[in-house]
Symmetry: C2
Subunit: 449 residues, 2 copies
């Protein structure tokens, strides 16, 4: 094991977590990481706050630089190196050195694919103009920041009302930009239910964001300088000095597929709970790989930093000769728009319905603190339970300061397959600055017992 | 069932929760509540914040007034009525009408004892002087507030560094009082371990509170006006225009004991999981009753508002002919000193040691948010696991804004008998404003796998 050369494709969360774990266990093993970008191990989720000006530079978003991996951990990280092919039979990868324009083959005994995910970009003319951005790599965030410095925008249009869209709306409002957000769906945050997202739209509008739902991006118009100056939906034309695309992502699984490695139905790489792919000695982790969904009880494509880090740790333990299984995911996620906290875990009502599960659901309004305590803010909690058993299937929370991280207690309860009744009697913490005597998640659970 | 007359002794959280539940189920049933004080259903935990001046008056602390129970719910609440005896054989209670100075007997078919707990007061001369207070009933909080209005204190001494002591220290500092806090123990917050409480003492001292540990209150000196003016410990003399006793509480179980109802080892009333006492048709709920401790797997005396409300709900369901069990408690609690949040659940290290359980423990320092995110604050998390199984036994958290309510995820995990490893892989929520990518509780868990 210790003499087996490990090659990792992709130097972000999953790849570098795994590589670091292997290094801790095997101080002398050869570990080579190929990363096609310039950066390793960065907090992509921090980019909107960097663009907002809340963080001085992009530097702090980088958890660990390539040279630190090389010098401190003896991990041979090669940036600007793109793996362009996997030869399973020959146990080697073909690598393109992007700076030198050369290709070469690198042998491996074990291979970890951690190629991440890529933003969906619509097939429209001018979508690659210099002021149209998707947020994915750290470089893409830096590019937005630099473009705003060189061409301070008066107006911006965000296409897509998911996490990226909502966080970028906050960021651009903070920079004084006049922001429009469009989404094809009748709601923002389609991982949640419409009754929970209506308040998000209200809050965004109150902050000056023009939100246009059920509108599709149809055309991008460029000016003489080659930059987009306006865009059109099926219903209106909007000025746009800056365009942000937050239309979702797809797993970077083509490389694996082309090598004959199985993909799952989601299009991400199929893995078992040890993060092994269908090919011997080939592992996958992070946004390019599927996870087992603990409530759906089937594989799912959930591309989030937390999951990528766990994937990487599990792969790293197994690559070091250990035995670790990744139990799975609930799709827990949290974000905010300004002071409004937004979180979800497990199944939404619409997911539950789509799965054909008989369910009950309730949405309650509560307060984040005791009603008499200064700063007590509104919070809305929605729970979905299986009708027959009362088992918790999912939860959604939207509310004031302190609301969002309450999702963690729900995530733990759902993981443990608790019922709403068990949640009611959980010994959660109460003091007036922190909660009403019945925590809002319990108030919601009480309506479902 | 519907014709059985219910008498409740005690009109606070447990008693009124139960009475309200019975009323919802049985609109016509006779329900009489005897409350020896003037107030019903109040948030005793809010008193320090009322005294601090953060809440305009004591009014908002009252969830529901006696006349509202009488008029809206047809619950016959009689304040200033103290039950002085229980006749089990005759199924009646003897009641003292405190305003009229009369005694009478009231018959019951079912009896709920919800007499709460009382502060421990040391047997010292002058301990009942007019400026020496324990905080227990709402009236006691009002009394402190009124005394401070009439005799604005320059100095105050708080005896006892538990929840009351720490919250009152915050309150009195906020009012500009020079505060000293003494405790017999070598630490504050003895429900937690010393390595977790050292930082609390540092924070209190930095805020100007003089904290004297391993010192015992020995003497209270009064002036010509009959008010305490100073007090002495075994080590020093301290000026005191106001004295707050926060020396712990004992269950108000004498009435039950005198009637021949079994008490537990803790001195609180022994109940089964349906909240039935050893006597037929007699139930108990709230601070006067024991709870089953889910980790200790034995009865415990845990007097907290959350538990009292749950006791009351369970008793109310059962008194209405339903079948509900109260699974038990973890001793989850939360408080703060100014911006420092303090929380605990399950077993502390010292409790674990005292129980003779072989354990492992780790304390980690982490951040409440991503390191690059503005407002990321320090948080210390301590976990205790069973050595053989890795099962989580307890957790403690001390840290900045957002730290404390993380205890709920631990409480849920401990209730579900999860291991540290299961906690590592729980799908908890991450975004830079809310958490590092590994939540601090998971960072702690990773050191114990």
């Amino acid at each position: 094991m210790q003499n087996r050369k490990l090659v990792v494709i992709g130097g972000d969360a999953a790849g570098m977590s795994a590589a670091s774990k292997v290094r801790r266990e095997h101080p002398d093993r050869e570990i080579v990481v190929f990363e096609r970008g310039r950066h390793t191990s960065y907090a992509a989720c921090g980019m909107p706050y960097y663009i907002a000006g809340m963080i001085d530079s992009a530097e702090p978003l980088i958890a660990r630089r390539p040279e630190v991996f090389r010098e401190k951990q003896q991990i041979d990280v090669r940036i600007r190196h793109e793996v362009v092919g996997i030869d399973l039979a020959g146990k080697r990868v073909q690598v393109s050195d992007l700076d030198r324009g050369e290709r070469f083959w690198e042998a491996w005994d074990e291979l970890l694919i951690a190629t991440g995910a890529a933003p969906l970009v619509p097939d429209l003319p001018n979508v690659h103009a210099e002021n149209v951005f998707s947020l994915s790599t750290l470089q893409s965030g830096i590019d937005v920041f630099e473009d705003m410095r060189r061409h301070p925008p008066r107006t911006a249009v965000i296409a897509g009302g998911g996490y990226v869209g909502i966080e970028m709306a906050e960021a651009l409002v903070a920079r004084g930009v006049e922001v429009s957000l469009i989404d094809m769906a009748a709601q923002v945050m389609t991982t949640m239910d419409p009754d929970m997202t209506a308040g998000i739209v209200d809050t965004m509008r109150a902050a000056g964001v023009s939100v246009f739902l059920e509108e599709r991006l149809e055309r991008l118009d460029i000016g003489a300088d080659g930059r987009v100056c306006s865009l059109s939906t099926d219903k209106r034309r909007l000025d746009a000095d800056l365009v942000i695309l937050g239309l979702g992502i797809r797993p970077n699984s083509d490389l694996a597929r082309d090598a004959g490695i199985d993909l799952g139905e989601s299009g991400a790489i199929r893995v078992n709970r040890r993060m092994q792919t269908s090919a011997a000695d080939v592992w996958a982790a992070g946004d390019c790989a599927e996870s087992f969904h603990l409530v759906k009880e089937r594989p799912a494509f959930i591309a989030l930093g937390t999951v990528a880090n766990k994937h990487g740790l599990v792969a790293g333990i197994n690559l070091s000769g250990g035995r670790q299984e990744f139990p799975g995911v609930l799709g827990t996620a949290i974000t905010r728009f300004q002071d409004l906290e937004i979180a979800r875990t497990g199944l939404s009502e619409s997911e539950t319905r789509d799965l054909g599960i008989a369910y009950r659901t309730k949405t309650v309004d509560a307060l984040t603190r005791s009603h008499f305590f200064p700063g007590a803010g509104k919070v809305k909690v929605k729970l979905v339970v299986e009708d027959s058993s009362g088992r918790l299937l999912g939860g959604q929370i939207v509310g004031a300061n302190g609301a969002g991280k309450r999702i963690d207690a729900l995530a733990a309860a759902i993981s443990a397959r608790m019922t709403a009744e068990q949640l009611v009697y959980l010994d959660l913490a109460y003091a007036p600055p922190f909660s009403p005597v019945w925590d809002p998640v319990q108030t919601a659970a009480r309506t479902l017992v």
